[in-house]
């Protein structure tokens, strides 16, 4: 990066707030996904005004800028190229206001997701969206990716919990969208902005809803002898009229993997387990727990266990939450997928994944948000073996094709980023994508902000942004999350 740019960045953000030495930049080469590139510089603004000045400088000099939170994203959204500046929001990490009477909190983008819940539980409230990386990921990053999590089944994903944003546009202009009210007059640009993966503006302040802590929570573990029975239960529960707070599934392989790691008390001979959480008023939860248990038994569950106390409940969840780490212990590399299918297609899709696994001779573990059909198959491979690496890539492609065949989506919560950009044309037509490009250009006309992400290289995009390199879906070694 041009030394005069570095000088100017230091002038804006402070001497210590800019990184440009290779050994420092190495740390910003990757996120939790599969792509890797070294940026030209990293800047850590501390105020909205500094973000605005950085954007203005970048706009004037036509330097691409990639905003970054904690770097826990799984789709390469925070990966920047050599000529780009990474704009880290890590130093804008203050909770500005906790407004209990209005059930809102106002935070800077670098606030860690779980930190907000920790700061508000003493008032009887929490921040509901809970991505698996919630101990590290930032709310700004959650806004960019419209993050989900196990508990978004009943309460909704990030977009359902954001009511206001302050953002800096690529030309440095600061805009306000929404506020503390549930909604406001005019276009819902707040809702539109969430999930735009850093391609519209840099979020510098976020107003989120705080959710009342439930009076009662209970967790059930349903154990199955076949995957089909577990999958059928998922359909039966959603049809029964109960919407659990969370409805997660682990297949037999994952169960054994997790047990070996944390001893959560999952039976190692099970073919699949469902982790079902119910929350709300005590009476409602108790009745729903009975109803759900009955449904599980009807669907040939071998056994349904109720967590007896909070300690047992936490232990059951520990198994789910450490699943990815547990896989890291047994396989040198794995490739995390994020596909969505209609709920009734869960049984077929799991059978199809089993077929794909057998066909390529690769273990594929399944641990996922069954309640909303959001699959996370983990393809295990040895990255030292080129054949296995190649096969894992093919298997991933077939799984995505299967999701699309059933009318599903290529991503439920990890985002498109770099990783899935090439798959966008399988889901959207050129006209669909052109509308998206036109809308993006209203915010980010020269594609200074997070260029070459999310929307693939189409003829129309080329006209506006110049030739773009093709996106690649390349699995690499590494342990996400």
């Amino acid at each position: 990066m041009d030394s005069s740019i570095i000088r100017q960045l230091r002038k804006i953000a402070g001497k210590d707030a800019v990184l440009d030495r290779p050994e420092e930049l190495m740390l910003y080469e990757y996120d939790a996904g599969v792509d890797k590139h070294r940026p030209g510089a990293v800047v850590f603004p501390q105020t909205t005004q500094q973000v605005s000045q950085v954007m203005k400088l970048a706009s004037d000099k036509k330097i691409p800028v990639v905003p970054r939170g904690a770097g826990t994203g799984l789709s390469g959204g925070a990966i920047a190229r050599r000529e780009a500046i990474v704009l880290s929001l890590a130093k804008m990490n203050k909770i500005l206001e906790i407004d209990v009477p209005n059930q809102r909190a106002v935070v800077q983008p670098g606030v860690v997701n779980l930190e907000l819940s920790n700061a508000t539980t003493k008032y009887g409230y929490y921040y509901a969206p809970d991505p698996s990386s919630q101990k590290a990921c930032t709310i700004g990053g959650n806004v960019a990716e419209n993050s989900g999590g196990p508990h978004t089944l009943a309460l909704g994903v990030t977009v359902n919990h954001v009511t206001g944003l302050e953002a800096v546009l690529p030309d440095g202009r600061v805009i306000e969208l929404g506020g503390k009210a549930q909604d406001s007059t005019g276009l819902d640009l707040t809702g539109f902005f969430v999930g735009s993966e850093g391609t519209m503006g840099v979020v510098t302040r976020i107003t989120v809803k705080l959710t009342k802590l439930p009076e009662h929570v209970t967790t059930l573990l349903a154990i199955y002898n076949t995957v089909e029975d577990a999958a059928n239960t998922v359909v039966a529960i959603t049809q029964s009229g109960v919407t659990p707070a969370a409805l997660e599934m682990l297949d037999g392989w994952m169960v054994r993997c997790v047990e070996a790691n944390v001893h959560a008390g999952y039976p190692e001979d099970a073919a699949a387990v469902l982790l079902i959480e119910l929350e709300g008023m005590r009476e409602t939860v108790n009745e729903q727990a009975e109803a759900v248990s009955a449904v599980c038994m009807q669907q040939k569950a071998r056994e349904v266990r109720h967590a007896k106390d909070e300690k047992q409940r936490q232990l059951l969840w520990l198994g789910r939450k450490t699943a990815f780490g547990a896989v890291g212990r047994v396989s040198p590399s794995y490739y995390t997928q994020d596909g969505v299918i209609p709920r009734t297609k869960v049984p077929y899709t799991l059978a199809e994944i089993a077929r794909i696994s057998k066909h390529y001779g690769l273990i594929i573990g399944n641990v996922f948000h069954a309640g909303d059909g959001n699959l996370h198959p983990l393809i295990l491979f040895d990255s030292r073996d080129p054949q296995q690496t190649e096969n894992s890539r093919k298997a991933a492609k077939e799984i995505m094709a299967c999701c699309l065949k059933f009318g599903g989506s290529i991503t439920g919560e990890h985002g498109v980023g770099l990783e899935k950009m090439g798959l966008m044309t399988a889901m959207f037509t050129e006209d669909d994508l052109e509308v998206m490009v036109r809308l993006r250009n209203a915010f980010n006309p020269e594609s200074i902000l997070n260029p070459q992400k999310m929307i693939p290289d189409l003829r129309y995009c080329r006209e506006i942004t110049g030739p773009l390199p093709k996106a690649k879906v390349e699995p690499v070694a590494g342990v996400p999350v």
């Binding site: 009477p101 209005n102 059930q103 009887g124 990716e145 989900g148 978004t152 977009v159 359902n160 805009i175 306000e176 969208l177 929404g178 506020g179 009210a181 549930q182 909604d183 406001s184 007059t185 005019g186 276009l187 640009l189 809702g191 539109f192 969430v194 999930g195 735009s196 009076e215 959603t238 049809q239 009229g241 109960v242 919407t243 709300g280 008023m281 005590r282 009476e283 409602t284 009745e287 969505v340 299918i341 209609p342 948000h369 059909g373 009318g407 989506s409 991503t411 439920g412 919560e413 498109v416 966008m424 006209d431 052109e434 509308v435 998206m436 036109r438 809308l439 250009n441 209203a442 929307i455």
Partner: protein, 458 residues
């Protein structure tokens, strides 16, 4: 009333796209929108035909007003002109519905109640209780962001809509989202088009996530001597473990419009026929709870002596129907009434209602309000007195006084008011969301401004 005639050649081209029988050139009185009458009414039978009509309009600089059941066309500014009223009513089929998936895909022109009946066969629903659901179309409800008391817990259309197909001003048929309940591929066009009042694109097909319908509900009405007491009760409820499905505040003037009444002979005359059913000084908070006998018993127990009436079955349905149709009831009785929709932070509900009560008499208007006490979406009605009715300017002054008294961050749009008054102020008012950005979005997708020109904020 103003009409602009489209040239006969355009009529012929429209007929070539949608078929001769689907271009209407007479009987436009029923299509009078804020005094503007369309030159042609066109009903395309497919999304592609909607695109073709728009392409033609875009090429010829014809202004298009998308329309469904015509239940909300009077909301908004006075259209500059309407060359083509584009009716979606032929796009009225259920395209796909699998109860096990809890998703449905429907044509935008289908009346909402029709979809709801299909879902009802499987004990499912889309939890929306806006007004006139027999006529209001799915596309229209989405475009106007319509909602009723159920918004309290379930949110509104933006929260149920998981996929959308639409035609852009230049005739492209495009989509956003999909048919699955969780999906972050591409921009969230569902959020953008919900509440865009037909100013960005014409919605042609909508995918919803649907919900199991509650099997049993009960309604508890609680009365208070002052707004303060009602608000304190509301705050206590919000902090309690209770999770009611609806939580409405009803102002002392509102019960008058929460019952079946014959439209008045002289619709400008404010004259309650009977003494109102409750003393006119009472504020009410009305809760609707869902659950088993056990759960409902707990509501009764915890609400205790605050409850003045408990409703179930048909009486309960009737009350909620009245609440949904509050503003329609007001407008049926008073042609010159003014209705505002507010967007408020939770703690601004009390101050906003206080402002309404205080401002209205200064302009010879009688206040009444119902609304979502937990989300700040209120419907404020102001009825003119028969003696010394307000002038057009007085409506404008009243709105500006009212808006001036709302806490910071609030917004309030005038949904209905006499046409003459609309010329004196901005019906949409200010909003915390950057209006220049809204305009940039509009220009990006409808650069020639052919969609609903003059009606919306952009």
């Amino acid at each position: 009333m103003s009409t602009v005639t489209t040239p006969a050649s355009v009529d012929r081209e429209l007929a070539a796209i949608v078929g001769e029988g689907n271009v209407q050139r007479t009987d436009f009185d029923s299509f009078n929108i804020n005094g503007v009458v369309p030159s042609a009414v066109v009903s395309p039978g497919s999304a592609e035909d909607v695109g073709s009509v728009l392409r033609l309009a875009n090429e010829r600089d014809l202004v298009v007003a998308p329309a469904g059941g015509l239940t909300k066309q009077q909301i908004g500014g006075v259209p500059e002109r309407i060359d083509i009223l584009l009716s979606t009513t032929r796009l009225n089929k259920v395209e796909e519905y699998d109860p096990g998936d809890l998703t449905i895909s429907v044509g935008a022109g289908m009346p909402f109640a029709e979809m709801q009946r299909t879902l009802g066969e499987h004990h499912q629903w889309v939890p929306c209780d806006a007004a006139h659901l027999e006529h209001a179309t799915i596309g229209g409800l989405l475009a106007t962001g319509a909602a009723g008391p159920l918004k309290s817990t379930f949110g509104h259309m933006r929260d149920f809509c998981i996929g959308i197909q639409f035609a852009t001003a230049d005739g492209k048929v495009a989509k956003g989202g999909g048919r699955v309940v969780k999906n972050v591929a591409g921009y969230d066009l569902m959020k953008l088009l919900t509440g865009s009042y037909g100013s960005l694109a014409v919605i042609t097909r909508v995918n919803f996530k649907v919900f199991p319908r509650p099997r049993q509900t009960r309604t508890f009405a609680c009365s208070f001597h002052s707004l303060d007491e009602a608000m304190q009760f509301r705050t206590k409820l919000l902090q309690s473990p209770l999770t009611p499905m609806c939580m409405e505040i009803i102002s002392p003037g509102a019960p008058e419009y929460l019952r079946d009444t014959e439209p008045a002979n002289d619709p400008d005359h404010y004259a309650p026929e009977q003494p109102v059913s409750l003393p006119a000084v009472e504020w009410q908070i009305v809760l609707r709870a869902a659950g088993s006998d056990n759960v409902l018993a707990r509501y009764a127990r915890e609400l205790g002596s605050a409850v003045t009436r408990t409703l179930e079955g048909p009486a309960e349905e009737q009350l909620w129907g009245w609440i949904s149709h509050f503003e329609q009831n007001v407008l049926a009785r008073h042609r010159n009434a003014m209705v505002l929709y507010t967007h408020l932070a939770i703690q601004s509900v009390g101050p906003a209602l206080q402002a309404l009560q205080r401002v209205a008499p200064d302009y010879n208007l009688i206040p009444a309000a119902v609304g979502r006490a937990a989300t700040g979406n209120l419907v404020l009605a102001l009825m003119p007195l028969s003696v010394d009715p307000p002038s057009a300017m007085q409506y404008a002054n009243c709105v500006s006084a009212l808006r001036g008294m709302l806490p910071a961050g609030s917004s309030a749009e005038v949904a209905y008011c006499p046409l003459e008054a609309k010329h004196h102020f901005d019906v949409w008012g200010t909003t915390p969301t950057d209006v220049n950005m809204m305009r940039a979005v509009k220009r990006a997708i409808d650069p020639k401004n052919i969609l609903n020109r003059g009606r919306f904020i952009v």
